[in-house]
């Protein structure tokens, strides 16, 4: 166990940055797979935040939440990849920008 | 105060007047599409039955009473308190009777050319809604009826109208709905503010008779929200432009009902829900409303004069006529308001008749363009004669109905608003101008080839016009029975306004010569 000398703020800020990088990444990348990865980054940022708060609040509940987030992330990936597989089969090498039949 | 339904043996007369056409509509809709004659029969049966009920109403109506009579009441929604409350007084009585009379005539006089079944169903539904709106004594119920009339009318215009019917129907619906948006918010706000956290009720009499629950400034805002809705419906300048389109494109029956009955929802609304609910605000905004009315009179007449389409011309004349009604209503004198109420009926009869006639002309010539019509009087003298009488009624010739209302309105407004009345008087000249000019172009002159074979009125058409003509003459010569029933309620309304505001109508309006003698005596 490491002594808590640093305080929560650096962790939280790191989480915020990670979240931002993930969010921005989703906005700038065209490959749907990478976009999913960015969502994973965001979820990880949240996880980090939860854990930080858990320690700060001295509440194990925050850690349990991470557990559930992990499950959700996994499920999302499964379904998301399923969708991508379905799409790429019909439109090989399609990027997110190519998938824009509907608009307006 | 109010005479209850129990007084006539418990028969819910008013409710039946609303329900009967609605039932008729459903039955008509249920008849097989392949039996048009049956639909027609059923529709006629119900529409005439409803007319008969309104005549019965006339018989049981106690003419000395000022308050609401024959009140039917049943709870509809518990919280907020909304109930099916119907009642009639002198202000609504004739409108109801007018509705009862005009619908059969419209149905008989202007049958549709296709799809009889839905046409009749919508028409019956429209009648139910109009009846409901005139009889409702619950603000919510009124709003519901006020709003629902749009639907059948929309379908009537868009389904059976002429060339630009879709645009016209849409414009009509949206424009009126735009007004209703304000009305709904205003209605709810009034009820909630009035409740002050207590139980919310929409009962008209409760809301109106307990003034002072809403602050004066708030009441003015609320009045405005009501006024927008009614102004659109009337329609007053400058929110009138839906009317020419709707009137012109609507099928004849639609135009008749639109002009004869539906426009009255606006003016009736001003009386029943403007003056009654917001006496102080009505007084406050009276100059404004009167100005709008006067602008409408002059402006409508000018526009009417310039129309190339006969139906459009009649439509604009409605703008002018309803300007008169607005003027009378907000003159806030007993003469003005009585004249306004009477003029609603007059306008319904005269303009309804005009639209029927224009419809007959269209039937024969398939055009409404004035320039394409000429010299019809030669081949159709009787129709020309009928048209003349209706036209003279519309331009307010003494001895015919239009004059009585117009005169009272002008007199009433002259008492309180001399200069407005003076300007409005010019509307009388302009009315003669545009109507006679139109008549001249359509009926006078030598008929060209297309118009030479114009068919004279058939006796069935004459039969439809006869009651209207009779009313035009009767109301012009002997309006007393009408005014006798209108007067107590109007007096009560004006007194209500006086009680709840600083406004006092000049003594001469109520006392006549006695007032002047008293003044001289001093």
């Amino acid at each position: 166990m490491l002594a808590s000398t640093l305080g929560p703020t650096p962790y939280l800020v790191l989480g915020a940055l990670l979240f931002t990088v993930g969010a921005t990444g989703l906005l700038v990348r065209r490959n749907p797979l990478v976009m999913f990865m960015c969502v994973e980054l965001m979820l990880n940022a949240v996880n980090l935040t939860f854990v930080t708060f858990a320690r700060e609040l001295d509440d194990i509940g925050g850690q349990v939440v991470v557990f559930f987030v992990l499950v959700v992330a996994a499920v999302e990936v499964v379904v998301g990849l399923g969708i991508i597989v379905a799409i790429i089969r019909r439109q090989p090498n399609a990027t997110a920008d190519d998938i824009s039949l509907m608009r307006g | 105060m109010s005479v209850l339904a129990a007084d006539i043996g418990g028969f819910p007369l008013l409710t039946s007047m609303v329900v009967a056409p609605a039932v008729g509509a459903v039955l008509t809709a249920l008849v097989s599409r392949r039996r048009p004659e049956q639909t027609r029969l059923i529709a006629l049966l119900f529409v005439i039955g409803t007319g008969a009920l309104t005549i019965a109403l006339l018989a049981v109506f106690k003419s000395g009473h000022a308050g609401f009579q024959l009140v039917d009441r049943a709870r509809w929604i518990k919280d907020p308190d909304i109930s099916w409350t119907l009642g009639v007084d002198g202000i609504s009585l004739w409108l109801v009777v007018l509705t009862g009379i005009l619908f059969p005539l419209a149905l008989l006089g202007a049958p549709p050319h296709h799809d009889e079944k839905p046409f009749y169903a919508w028409l019956l539904l429209l009648e139910a809604a109009c009846m409901g709106a005139f009889l409702a004594l619950d603000l919510f119920l009124f709003f519901v009826m006020f709003e629902i009339v749009l639907v059948p009318m929309y379908f009537l215009i868009s389904g059976w109208g002429y060339g630009g019917r879709r645009y016209a129907a849409l414009k009509f619906f949206l424009y009126t709905m735009f007004g209703s948006a304000f009305l709904l918010v205003g209605t709810i706000a009034l009820a909630f503010l009035h409740a002050k956290g207590g139980p919310v009720t929409f009962d008209l009499r409760t809301l109106a008779d307990n003034q002072g629950m809403v602050a004066a400034t708030t009441a003015r805002w609320l009045f405005l929200s009501f006024a927008i809705a009614f102004a659109v419906k009337v329609p007053l300048f400058p929110v009138h432009t839906w009317l020419p389109d709707a009137h012109t494109e609507a099928p004849t029956a639609g135009s008749v009902i639109l002009a004869g009955v539906m426009l009255k929802l606006g003016t009736y609304g001003f009386l029943r829900f403007g003056l009654y609910l917001f006496p102080e605000a009505s007084v406050y905004f009276a100059p404004f409303m009167v100005t709008l009315g006067v602008i409408g009179i002059i402006y409508g007449a000018m526009c009417a004069a310039m129309q190339k389409d006969l139906k459009r011309l009649v439509a604009y004349s409605s703008v002018a006529h309803l300007g008169f009604i607005a003027l009378g209503t907000f003159a806030l004198t007993t003469q003005g308001v009585q004249g306004g109420v009477l003029q609603m009926i007059n306008h319904g009869v005269s303009t309804g008749a005009l639209f029927l006639l224009v419809g007959m002309i269209y039937e024969r010539r398939h055009t409404r363009q004035i320039s394409e019509l000429k010299g019809l009087q030669k081949s159709a003298p009787i129709m020309a004669g009928v048209f003349t009488v209706v036209m003279l009624s519309s331009l307010g010739l003494p001895g015919l109905n239009g004059f009585v209302g117009e005169f009272l309105i002008l007199l009433g407004s002259f008492i309180t608003r001399r200069w407005w009345a003076a300007v409005a008087l010019f509307g009388v000249i302009l009315a003669a101008l545009y109507l006679l000019w139109a008549y001249q172009r359509v009926f006078h002159g030598e008929a060209d080839e297309a118009n030479a074979t114009f068919r004279e009125m058939r006796w069935t058409e004459g039969l439809v016009m006869a009651p209207l003509l009779a009313l035009i003459v009767f109301m012009g010569v002997y309006p007393k029975p009408f005014l006798d029933r209108i007067a107590p309620s109007v007096d009560r309304l004006v007194t209500h306004v006086e009680h709840n505001s600083e406004y006092r109508q000049p003594k001469v309006a109520t006392d006549g010569p006695r007032a002047v003698r008293a003044k001289v005596g001093k």
């Binding site: 990088v21 990865m37 509440d59 499964v78 | -």
Partner: protein
Amino acid sequence: MVELLVFIVASAVVLVGALGVVFNGNPVHAALSLVATLFGVAVLFIAQDAQFLAAVQVIVYAGAIVVLFLFVIMLLGVDRSEDLRSDALTGQRPAAVVAGVLLGGSLVAVLVASSITGARSSGAKITTGVPNVNQLARLLFTDYLFAFEITSALLVIAVVGAVMLARRRKGTTVDADEADPVTRLGVGQDAR
């Protein structure tokens, strides 16, 4: 001091990995960068007394999820590198950067300014004596029992969804706008 050192190193790994995900044109590389981030986060978990979660993070995330990603990349053969020099959507990239800066900025500002609210745990405390796993497990089956149960529904969805989506459907595409009318109306056969 140790914590600071760990934090600096781990956070560097996390951020570099994250940026790697964003800036690597090749999806495989991006996935590998993601692994770096996940590891970094796991380290930070440990630094904050969440040892079990760190383990799960490595096993489930790095071990399963990223592998899944890589598997799909290989399966579909979409490992072609993406050209990151330009963005076809006008304004998207600068807007994204601005949005990122604003979002990050405001979040950081909030966290820096008001992380201490005075709130204290109202649930189970992190007790140092008991193993992390035990504590988690206890909470999982008490306070979070329902949440735990509902994750089962999620997993069922994942299974059913994957089956549905990945099932190879024969037959032509019904609504490809380029398709000619004949194929457009053509009805494909079911998978079975």
